[in-house]
Amino acid sequence: MKLIYFSWIRERIGTGEEEVSLPENVDTIASLFEWLKSRGEEFEAALEYPDVVRVALDQEHVDDRQTSLTGVKEIALFPPMTGG
Protein backbone atom coordinates (compact mmCIF):
# COMPACT_ATOMS: atom_id res chain seq x y z
CA MET A 1 0.00 0.00 0.00
CA LYS A 2 1.39 3.36 -1.04
CA LEU A 3 0.76 6.44 1.08
CA ILE A 4 1.35 9.88 -0.44
CA TYR A 5 1.40 13.21 1.37
CA PHE A 6 1.27 16.75 0.02
CA SER A 7 1.83 20.33 1.14
CA TRP A 8 2.12 20.96 4.88
CA ILE A 9 0.98 17.42 5.65
CA ARG A 10 4.03 16.18 3.75
CA GLU A 11 6.23 18.69 5.58
CA ARG A 12 4.94 17.71 9.02
CA ILE A 13 5.31 13.99 8.35
CA GLY A 14 8.73 14.59 6.82
CA THR A 15 8.29 12.42 3.75
CA GLY A 16 6.37 12.64 0.49
CA GLU A 17 5.53 8.97 0.17
CA GLU A 18 6.04 5.60 1.74
CA GLU A 19 5.15 1.94 1.28
CA VAL A 20 3.31 0.47 4.27
CA SER A 21 1.59 -2.75 5.23
CA LEU A 22 -1.61 -1.85 7.03
CA PRO A 23 -2.62 -3.97 10.05
CA GLU A 24 -5.69 -6.05 9.30
CA ASN A 25 -8.04 -3.94 11.44
CA VAL A 26 -7.09 -0.76 9.56
CA ASP A 27 -9.75 -1.06 6.86
CA THR A 28 -11.37 2.40 6.66
CA ILE A 29 -10.09 5.95 6.32
CA ALA A 30 -11.06 6.64 9.93
CA SER A 31 -9.07 3.69 11.22
CA LEU A 32 -6.14 4.65 8.96
CA PHE A 33 -6.05 8.08 10.63
CA GLU A 34 -5.99 6.47 14.10
CA TRP A 35 -3.25 4.06 13.08
CA LEU A 36 -1.12 6.83 11.51
CA LYS A 37 -1.39 8.98 14.65
CA SER A 38 -0.05 6.05 16.67
CA ARG A 39 3.11 6.03 14.56
CA GLY A 40 4.71 9.09 16.15
CA GLU A 41 4.41 12.77 16.90
CA GLU A 42 5.12 13.85 13.30
CA PHE A 43 1.97 12.00 12.28
CA GLU A 44 0.07 13.41 15.25
CA ALA A 45 1.09 16.91 14.13
CA ALA A 46 0.07 16.23 10.52
CA LEU A 47 -3.35 14.92 11.58
CA GLU A 48 -3.89 17.42 14.43
CA TYR A 49 -7.01 18.73 12.66
CA PRO A 50 -8.30 15.63 10.88
CA ASP A 51 -11.38 17.45 9.55
CA VAL A 52 -9.29 19.60 7.21
CA VAL A 53 -7.37 16.64 5.82
CA ARG A 54 -8.59 15.59 2.36
CA VAL A 55 -8.25 12.01 1.17
CA ALA A 56 -7.91 10.49 -2.28
CA LEU A 57 -8.13 6.73 -2.81
CA ASP A 58 -6.43 5.69 -6.05
CA GLN A 59 -6.51 9.35 -7.10
CA GLU A 60 -10.21 9.91 -6.45
CA HIS A 61 -11.54 12.28 -3.79
CA VAL A 62 -13.39 10.47 -0.99
CA ASP A 63 -15.34 12.33 1.68
CA ASP A 64 -16.83 9.53 3.78
CA ARG A 65 -14.36 8.49 6.51
CA GLN A 66 -16.01 5.08 6.74
CA THR A 67 -15.06 4.24 3.15
CA SER A 68 -13.38 0.85 2.93
CA LEU A 69 -9.72 0.60 1.95
CA THR A 70 -10.10 -2.91 0.51
CA GLY A 71 -8.41 -3.20 -2.86
CA VAL A 72 -7.00 0.34 -2.69
CA LYS A 73 -3.41 0.67 -3.93
CA GLU A 74 -2.67 4.33 -3.29
CA ILE A 75 -3.90 6.64 -0.55
CA ALA A 76 -3.11 10.35 -0.62
CA LEU A 77 -3.58 12.81 2.26
CA PHE A 78 -3.48 16.54 1.66
CA PRO A 79 -4.92 19.87 2.83
CA PRO A 80 -7.65 21.73 0.92
CA MET A 81 -6.44 22.48 -2.58
CA THR A 82 -5.31 25.94 -3.63
CA GLY A 83 -4.72 25.66 -7.36
CA GLY A 84 -5.64 28.07 -10.11
Binding site: I4, R10, Q59, P80, T82, G83, G84
Partner: protein, 158 residues
Protein backbone atom coordinates in the same frame (compact mmCIF):
# COMPACT_ATOMS: atom_id res chain seq x y z
CA UNK B 1 -21.58 16.06 -33.76
CA UNK B 2 -18.44 14.61 -32.23
CA UNK B 3 -17.80 15.89 -28.73
CA UNK B 4 -14.70 18.04 -28.31
CA UNK B 5 -11.84 16.42 -26.41
CA UNK B 6 -10.33 18.60 -23.67
CA UNK B 7 -6.62 19.36 -23.93
CA UNK B 8 -5.17 19.23 -20.40
CA UNK B 9 -1.54 19.93 -19.61
CA UNK B 10 0.38 20.14 -16.34
CA UNK B 11 3.77 21.65 -17.01
CA UNK B 12 6.61 23.73 -15.58
CA UNK B 13 6.93 25.85 -18.72
CA UNK B 14 5.04 29.03 -19.50
CA UNK B 15 2.40 29.12 -22.27
CA UNK B 16 1.61 31.42 -25.20
CA UNK B 17 -2.06 32.36 -25.25
CA UNK B 18 -2.20 33.44 -28.92
CA UNK B 19 -0.56 30.20 -30.02
CA UNK B 20 -3.00 28.15 -27.94
CA UNK B 21 -6.01 29.99 -29.36
CA UNK B 22 -4.72 29.42 -32.91
CA UNK B 23 -4.27 25.74 -32.21
CA UNK B 24 -7.89 25.58 -31.03
CA UNK B 25 -9.57 27.65 -33.74
CA UNK B 26 -7.39 27.25 -36.85
CA UNK B 27 -9.33 26.11 -39.89
CA UNK B 28 -12.68 25.99 -38.09
CA UNK B 29 -15.74 27.94 -39.14
CA UNK B 30 -18.01 27.00 -36.24
CA UNK B 31 -16.24 28.94 -33.50
CA UNK B 32 -17.74 32.36 -32.84
CA UNK B 33 -16.38 33.04 -29.37
CA UNK B 34 -13.17 32.28 -27.50
CA UNK B 35 -12.77 33.12 -23.82
CA UNK B 36 -9.42 32.82 -22.10
CA UNK B 37 -8.69 33.04 -18.40
CA UNK B 38 -5.13 33.43 -17.25
CA UNK B 39 -4.22 33.44 -13.60
CA UNK B 40 -1.07 35.34 -12.67
CA UNK B 41 1.11 35.40 -9.57
CA UNK B 42 0.52 38.65 -7.65
CA UNK B 43 3.29 40.30 -5.65
CA UNK B 44 1.09 40.85 -2.57
CA UNK B 45 2.11 44.52 -2.30
CA UNK B 46 5.74 43.67 -2.91
CA UNK B 47 6.11 41.12 -0.09
CA UNK B 48 6.13 38.00 -2.28
CA UNK B 49 9.28 36.68 -3.99
CA UNK B 50 7.63 33.64 -5.57
CA UNK B 51 4.94 31.01 -5.25
CA UNK B 52 5.93 27.37 -5.27
CA UNK B 53 3.29 25.09 -6.73
CA UNK B 54 3.12 21.46 -5.72
CA UNK B 55 0.74 19.04 -7.41
CA UNK B 56 -0.36 15.42 -7.39
CA UNK B 57 0.82 14.04 -10.76
CA UNK B 58 -1.73 11.87 -12.49
CA UNK B 59 -4.62 12.93 -10.29
CA UNK B 60 -4.19 16.60 -11.31
CA UNK B 61 -4.67 15.78 -15.01
CA UNK B 62 -7.54 13.37 -14.27
CA UNK B 63 -9.46 15.82 -12.07
CA UNK B 64 -9.18 18.71 -14.51
CA UNK B 65 -10.15 16.42 -17.38
CA UNK B 66 -13.21 15.28 -15.45
CA UNK B 67 -14.53 18.82 -14.98
CA UNK B 68 -13.43 19.87 -18.49
CA UNK B 69 -15.60 17.09 -19.93
CA UNK B 70 -18.53 18.30 -17.82
CA UNK B 71 -18.04 21.83 -19.19
CA UNK B 72 -17.92 20.61 -22.80
CA UNK B 73 -21.10 18.61 -22.29
CA UNK B 74 -23.02 21.31 -20.44
CA UNK B 75 -22.19 24.22 -22.75
CA UNK B 76 -21.62 22.26 -25.95
CA UNK B 77 -18.15 23.74 -26.32
CA UNK B 78 -16.19 23.43 -29.57
CA UNK B 79 -12.92 23.15 -27.69
CA UNK B 80 -11.40 23.49 -24.22
CA UNK B 81 -7.77 23.84 -23.13
CA UNK B 82 -6.47 23.91 -19.56
CA UNK B 83 -2.81 24.37 -18.71
CA UNK B 84 -1.63 24.49 -15.10
CA UNK B 85 1.98 25.20 -14.23
CA UNK B 86 3.92 23.81 -11.27
CA UNK B 87 7.24 24.74 -9.67
CA UNK B 88 8.45 28.20 -8.70
CA UNK B 89 6.52 31.08 -10.22
CA UNK B 90 7.45 34.74 -9.77
CA UNK B 91 5.07 37.71 -9.46
CA UNK B 92 3.74 38.75 -12.85
CA UNK B 93 4.20 35.25 -14.27
CA UNK B 94 1.40 32.99 -15.46
CA UNK B 95 0.09 30.18 -13.27
CA UNK B 96 -2.90 28.81 -15.12
CA UNK B 97 -4.67 29.13 -18.46
CA UNK B 98 -8.17 28.06 -19.46
CA UNK B 99 -9.49 28.58 -22.99
CA UNK B 100 -13.08 27.80 -23.95
CA UNK B 101 -14.29 28.02 -27.55
CA UNK B 102 -17.94 27.97 -28.56
CA UNK B 103 -20.34 29.11 -31.24
CA UNK B 104 -21.86 31.59 -28.79
CA UNK B 105 -20.37 34.02 -26.35
CA UNK B 106 -22.15 33.19 -23.09
CA UNK B 107 -21.30 29.50 -23.42
CA UNK B 108 -17.62 30.36 -23.82
CA UNK B 109 -17.73 32.66 -20.77
CA UNK B 110 -19.59 30.12 -18.64
CA UNK B 111 -17.45 27.15 -19.68
CA UNK B 112 -14.21 28.93 -18.79
CA UNK B 113 -15.62 30.36 -15.55
CA UNK B 114 -16.98 26.97 -14.45
CA UNK B 115 -13.72 25.17 -15.10
CA UNK B 116 -11.75 27.80 -13.17
CA UNK B 117 -14.07 27.52 -10.15
CA UNK B 118 -13.61 23.75 -10.03
CA UNK B 119 -9.91 23.94 -10.71
CA UNK B 120 -9.47 26.29 -7.72
CA UNK B 121 -11.16 23.93 -5.30
CA UNK B 122 -10.86 20.42 -6.78
CA UNK B 123 -7.57 20.18 -8.64
CA UNK B 124 -4.81 18.83 -6.39
CA UNK B 125 -2.43 21.81 -6.36
CA UNK B 126 -1.01 23.62 -3.35
CA UNK B 127 0.77 26.96 -3.22
CA UNK B 128 3.57 27.90 -0.85
CA UNK B 129 4.74 31.48 -0.50
CA UNK B 130 8.38 32.51 -0.61
CA UNK B 131 8.75 35.96 0.89
CA UNK B 132 11.01 38.81 -0.17
CA UNK B 133 12.39 39.33 3.33
CA UNK B 134 13.75 35.78 3.25
CA UNK B 135 11.44 34.51 5.99
CA UNK B 136 9.79 31.15 5.57
CA UNK B 137 6.54 31.58 3.70
CA UNK B 138 3.21 30.00 4.54
CA UNK B 139 1.15 27.55 2.58
CA UNK B 140 -1.68 29.52 1.02
CA UNK B 141 -4.94 28.75 2.85
CA UNK B 142 -8.02 27.66 0.91
CA UNK B 143 -10.69 30.37 0.76
CA UNK B 144 -14.33 29.83 1.66
CA UNK B 145 -15.14 32.25 -1.16
CA UNK B 146 -13.69 29.80 -3.66
CA UNK B 147 -15.85 27.02 -2.27
CA UNK B 148 -18.89 29.32 -2.31
CA UNK B 149 -18.24 30.23 -5.95
CA UNK B 150 -19.15 26.67 -6.93
CA UNK B 151 -22.76 27.16 -5.89
CA UNK B 152 -23.45 29.38 -8.89
CA UNK B 153 -23.24 26.25 -11.07
CA UNK B 154 -25.93 24.36 -9.13
CA UNK B 155 -29.44 23.86 -10.47
CA UNK B 156 -28.99 26.38 -13.19
CA UNK B 157 -30.05 25.95 -16.76
CA UNK B 158 -27.28 27.14 -19.02
Amino acid sequence: MTKAIPDIRIQAEDFDISAEISQLSEGRGDIGAVVTFSGLCRDESGTLAALELEHYPGMAEAEIKHFAEQAIERWDLCGLIAIHRYGKIKPGENIVLVIAASSHRQAAFDGANFLMDFLKTHAPFWKKEHLNDGSAGEWVAAKDADEDALSKWDNRES
